[in-house]
């Protein structure tokens, strides 16, 4: 019996995305739970897995835009494949499959599979193979709507929009064969002085959201500096034991998350957002932690930070970091944050003005720790100093509140015992 492989639901706001890579080939034997394809939406990259053991037949080539619920393959349950199934779905096996595919990707590009599926001219096939641009998503000007080389060149030059062909069939299986180039295909210009590639859906969404934050909010940034010596001292003193006990390092982030939570409790305007003409105040503390990945910035959310201890926060952040880099963050994990902490310090940033993570009202930027001469009690002393930045939506947060928040954070970091007592 054939079991359909569908694009899994990804959350309410997601209707479709890019089927980025197939991790198996048509005819392969697959096992239940085995990752079959990676799937990229504007918010997250995830994987689709096999629901049954059997032999897979792929219907949609990699690089195609797909809809949630769309059938992209079928598995003939129980049938043996031309390639043996992985002996188990243990992590190492999957991992090697991923690496293998990744290594093969440039040599066997998307369009190599176009063949019989889409009758396109040889020049169009070549361009598709070289750029990853799938002609199925381009409005053709040739006979009976065929895509010509000129159409491809125009689409690549951004002269014509790549759009979904209108399809009359409403069923989800009616494929919206919009396509988009596979992620990392770079087209060098003729003289080699420039090269271009398409934005991935994730990158497009990031761009859109950043511009939205800039244009739809009254954003400004306040700064402060914080002496990191007390936190460093605490880490030195308890770090080893902490690691032994919880299996995770005691980092700076847990201090800042805790400090932010406590400061938000005191300056409630920070934990709020605008909804139309209403101000919605949040009474929970789900804090987004920005994680850089090679596909772009991702902000997974650590839930209930007020309820978590330091170890819980460090574990959550560590797990996100690893999974974000592997592209395995699930969409719900990115949703519902009330505040964001972004640490540019790990890349060496001295000072920056972060952009709001819309529709949140504030974002805190952490920076590098540098030994700086500071005056303490009339003496110039050297202290490990970090600059803090808080960008906030001035429409609902006043300067006084923003500054107070940041001062509170500073106080909690410079005297972590305050966190114990909430003072």
């Amino acid at each position: 019996m054939a079991v359909e492989v569908k694009i899994p639901p990804m959350g309410e706001s997601i209707t479709g995305g890019l089927l980025a890579t197939w991790l198996v080939k048509s005819g392969d034997a697959v096992r239940k739970g085995q990752p079959l394809f990676s799937y990229e939406t504007d918010k997250v990259t995830s994987e689709g897995t096999a629901e049954v053991d059997g032999r897979i037949t792929i219907n949609v080539e990699a690089g195609t835009e797909v809809l949630v619920g769309q059938v992209v393959a079928s598995i003939e349950a129980g049938a043996a494949g031309t390639a043996p199934p992985p002996s188990a779905v243990a992590a190492p096996a999957v991992k090697s499959a991923v690496t293998q595919v990744a290594a093969k990707a440039p040599a066997a590009p998307v369009a190599a599979k176009l063949g019989a599926a889409a009758e396109v001219s040889p020049a169009v096939r070549r361009l598709s193979a070289e750029t990853g641009l799938n002609p199925a998503g381009i409005e053709g000007t040739g006979k009976a709507g065929r895509v010509t080389k000129g159409d491809m060149l125009a689409a690549l030059a951004g002269q014509t929009p790549i759009q979904a062909p209108v399809t009359a069939a409403p069923a989800p299986s009616a494929v919206a064969q919009v396509s988009s180039p596979a992620a990392a295909v770079v087209i060098p210009s003729r003289d080699g002085r420039t090269s271009r590639k398409r934005m991935s859906p994730l990158r497009r969404k990031i761009a859109e959201r950043l511009v939205q934050a800039k244009s739809e909010t009254a954003m400004l940034t306040t700064f402060n500096e914080v002496n990191m010596a007390p936190v460093m001292e605490l880490r030195k003193r308890h770090g080893e034991e902490f690691l032994k006990k919880y299996g995770v390092k005691l980092g700076f982030m847990s201090f800042f998350v805790k400090a932010a939570v406590q400061a938000m409790k005191e300056v409630t305007a920070i934990n709020a957002q605008l909804d139309g003409e209403d101000i919605v105040e949040n009474h929970f503390y789900d804090i987004g932690v920005a994680v850089g990945t090679d596909k772009g910035l991702m902000v997974p959310v650590v839930r209930g930070c007020d309820q978590l201890n330091f170890a819980g926060i460090e574990k959550a952040i560590g797990d996100f970091g690893k999974r974000a880099r592997d592209g395995k963050i699930q969409l719900p994990e990115l949703q519902g944050g009330v505040f964001t902490i972004s640490n540019g310090g790990i890349y060496g940033s001295m000072l920056s003005t972060p952009i709001l993570n819309h529709p949140q009202a504030a974002i805190m930027g952490l920076h590098n720790i540098v030994e700086r001469p500071v005056a303490e009690n009339g003496q110039v002393v050297i202290r490990p100093i970090m600059y803090l930045a808080l960008s906030y939506d001035h429409r609902i947060i006043d300067g006084k509140e923003a500054v107070t928040f940041l001062v509170k954070v500073r106080q909690f970091i410079e005297d972590p015992q305050r966190l114990l007592f909430g003072v």
Binding site: S121, P122, A123, R125, K143, R146, G150
Partner: protein
């Protein structure tokens, strides 16, 4: 109720194809033909008989120059014009029968006589055996064209002849002057030149082949023909015929200076004109343009409802294949389907040796339209098959859009160009680019590879040229 869904007047390639197509699509069709044989000009006195003669004379030429291929006794080789004409007639007769069989198969009723527009929905067919009125829902006029006659030198069938006569000369004229360096003049000029006639082509324009061809293409063709002994008098305006006791001569002038070309036969091939003779166009109120062609709309309909016209009798290139395409489209439209002719991609061919062919825009056309183009050329001298077949004269030229690489036009002077141009048409019909041609596998060795090489030359990636 009407007897017929469609009455077609004229059984040339436009008319008979329309009739067959309409029959195929289930319409009840009658086909009216005034001549004894079916097939119109093309089959009886045009394309087909001239091809037969071109082939016969080519066989003769091959044999005549067959010494290097090991033929012995070629210096004593002679020919029999009457046998050539008989062979031609046999070819024509075979095709006449073929057309009749095809029409019969599609239940098309053939009505002999001269068709005339009577009342609306009626065609009056007059013949020696009496008149007959055909009632019909639709009428298709496909009455073709006739050779243009110059008013100051009317066809006499003896000295001043048309192409109709030019395919049936009983003997090879010692001296022949061809007026007009278009396809007809060049083809018939070639036929008689190959048989030993001293042929001079007199043309008013500066280049041969007509305005479709780029100057470089026309020049290459002209020089190939000159090597075969045909003389060209370009830019010369014909003024008349001078007859004297010593013989006839064509008079002309160039830059105000008089010219005179002695001739036993003067073949006037200056074009053809729409034929509406006997159709009763005026009485029926059928609108014609200033050149006597029937005016039609985008669906081939004349100003008279239910009356359509196609082929040489309407505007456009006077080519059998253009008429055929229109015939199919009309029939499809009448049967409720979608008929369409892509006028941008109608090939033109001159069936000489080498042949000359073109489709789409010339380089000059493109430039006139301000389209930036990339040109790829490939000389047949670099083609293996051409070398092995004594066919190294000429080249293939590909005109592609500089921006999109789309094939805009293809022109060629080459042995077998008439067949090779089809590949260009197919690529162009599907919006193909030069690269598409370059990435299509061609059989080796073929002269057609020259087309592929020329396409590669557009991006300067030709393999077999420097």
């Amino acid at each position: 109720m009407s007897q017929f869904d469609l009455v077609v007047i004229g059984s040339g390639p436009g008319g008979y194809v329309a009739a067959i197509k309409a029959g195929q699509l289930g319409l009840k069709v009658a086909l009216v033909e005034k001549d004894n044989s079916l097939g119109g000009t093309c089959l009886n006195v045009g394309c087909i008989p001239s091809k037969s003669l071109l082939h016969s004379t080519e066989v003769y030429q091959h044999a005549l120059h067959g010494k290097k291929h090991g033929l012995v006794g070629t210096e004593k080789l002679t020919f029999d014009v009457a046998a050539m004409l008989a062979n031609k007639d046999k070819v024509v007769a075979q095709l006449n029968m073929g057309v009749g069989a095809l029409l019969k198969k599609r239940n098309v009723e053939i009505v002999r006589g001269l068709g005339r527009l009577a009342k609306a929905g009626e065609v009056l067919v007059r013949s020696t055996s009496g008149d007959r009125t055909l009632e019909t829902k639709n009428i298709l006029i496909a009455t073709g064209s006739v050779p243009i006659e110059l008013p100051f030198m009317k066809f006499d069938g003896e000295t001043v002849i048309s192409s109709d006569h030019g395919i049936s000369l009983k003997a090879v004229p010692e001296k022949m002057v061809v007026v007009g360096a278009g396809a007809i003049g060049l083809e018939l000029g070639s036929v008689w030149a190959r048989l030993g006639s001293q042929v001079t082509v007199v043309e008013m324009l500066p280049s041969i082949g007509g305005p479709s061809y780029d100057a470089d293409v026309a020049k290459a063709a002209q020089s190939a023909f000159e090597k075969q002994g045909i003389k060209f008098e370009m830019g010369a305006k014909v003024t008349g015929v001078k007859k004297s006791a010593s013989g006839s001569a064509l008079t002309a002038e160039r830059d105000g200076k008089p010219l005179e070309f002695a001739a036993d036969k003067i073949l006037v091939a200056v074009g053809r004109k729409a034929n509406t003779t006997g159709l009763g166009a005026q009485e029926a109120g059928l609108k014609l343009d200033e050149r006597g062609r029937i005016i039609i709309d985008g669906h081939f309909q004349t100003n008279l409802p239910g009356v359509y016209a196609i082929g040489d009798v309407v505007a456009g290139p006077m080519l059998a294949h253009k008429a055929e395409e229109e015939g199919v489209a009309v029939a499809e439209n009448l049967a409720g389907k979608h008929g369409h002719v892509n006028y941008a991609i109608i090939p033109g061919v001159i069936y000489t040796d080498p042949e000359v062919a073109c489709v789409g825009l010339s380089e000059a056309d493109a430039k006139a339209k301000n389209i930036e183009v990339m040109i790829g050329k490939f000389q047949l001298a670099g083609n293996g098959r051409a070398i092995a077949s004594d066919g190294t004269a000429g080249f293939v030229k590909v005109i592609a859009c500089a921006k999109t690489d789309k094939l805009l036009g293809v022109q060629m002077v080459a042995k077998g160009a008439s067949e090779m141009i089809a590949a260009a048409c197919a690529h162009m019909e599907y919006g193909g680019s030069a690269e598409d041609v370059a990435r299509t596998c061609f059989a080796h060795p073929t002269v057609s590879e020259s087309f592929k090489e020329a396409a590669m030359a557009v991006s300067k990636t030709s393999i077999h040229s420097l």
